[in-house]
Subunit: 251 residues, 2 copies
Amino acid sequence: MDRNIKLILEYDGTNYHGWQTQAENGNPTIQGTLEQALKTIIREKVTTFSSGRTDAGVHALGHVANFMTSNTIPAAAWAPALNHLLPKDIRILESTEVSLDFHARYSALGKTYKYRILRRRAPTALYRNYAWHINLPLNIRKMRSALPFLVGRKDFSAFRGSGCNAKSPVRTIKSASIKKDGDFLELWFEADAFLQYMVRNITGTLVEVGLGRFTPDDVGRILRSCDRTQAGRTAPPHGLYLMDVSYPESR
Amino acid sequence: MDRNIKLILEYDGTNYHGWQTQAENGNPTIQGTLEQALKTIIREKVTTFSSGRTDAGVHALGHVANFMTSNTIPAAAWAPALNHLLPKDIRILESTEVSLDFHARYSALGKTYKYRILRRRAPTALYRNYAWHINLPLNIRKMRSALPFLVGRKDFSAFRGSGCNAKSPVRTIKSASIKKDGDFLELWFEADAFLQYMVRNITGTLVEVGLGRFTPDDVGRILRSCDRTQAGRTAPPHGLYLMDVSYPESR
């Protein structure tokens, strides 16, 4: 186990029960599928370390994982070798060798998520698994004016999933922005790390602001309450994309 | 049969063998799936007329179809009634009553297609069914300078599929343009009508120009040759989107 290989993955989460292998049942996961492909190459069980878990249905354009191996396959060759074995909805974008102390989760400096909303009256076939379809008008100006309440080092208990087992509810959102792209609305969030359901809970709450059910000031009030029951609904998973995980330059 | 209902459809073509029902086998088609849903509502066989056929794997954001019925369901109610029965990868965006002489194909003034290319080195999981992935550099300037050869009333025999049974190979391309959108390249074509595989053959040829295998002038030469063997490969179906079918104002 003298080599540490870092993988950057893109996946379509539609057909998976999230990243993490679930011991209790046979539902396909990204991690389980990846580890099976690694086992086929190395001929022994491999454990992968991940930048984080993603929920069922969530997509990724830049998920990061790493694993230790004694295998001498050149680092760059892992990507094509794995892509040959993996289903087409999981692709390895890049494989590199990193120092032995690199850990996809513990070495991460930050993560960027995008949440994609399709706002139009008509239903959608093409984006049914790739965006949250909202058929009522959203006031984007009001949604944007709620963003400053979220940026900075805060206690995000109000936006934390009930199953979250992180020790501290404090996270630092470095930036939050909303971009219009035709009928789509993209909500971007960059933070040092995220709590379970945090992006989906924040998005659900911002949508309530867009719908006029909450004011922008309510978002600040909800955050300060540290009370999950104050916040809006949890946005559905299929609009969420893990875009990027950042590491110190040398990694 | 005193009412004529016009439908605008969006569909994800991934799981269908194109629009048209194939008598010879049981492959699912958009038309077959739609007619089955109509039959469930009306309780008798319904024939739909379409703005055109789409190939297996091709998508649509604005396909148009119509059908005649004696049923008195309000025109606008067909959309939700059908969407309740249709699979989620086919959606009716709009249903309206039109004059009895309206025919989705024969009344059409023009059609707009978009062809979507993903140009980057890394493979893709999320867009595997929704764009043509090209991992070599494309010279967009050269591709754009080939477009004027294609615009206007021309004999498009060189870009016609071998199974095409249109009486005339003459079509009028009203506009052709190439838009950059991040890693995506969108090729837009508007014409009075298109021959079989015409957009895919033109796209395949423009990609050869982008790759430097053809010059922009070659596109003019290929068109004048009226010889399909001169043109580039046929671009794969999953990058193609029927965007819009236009009709006289009153329809």
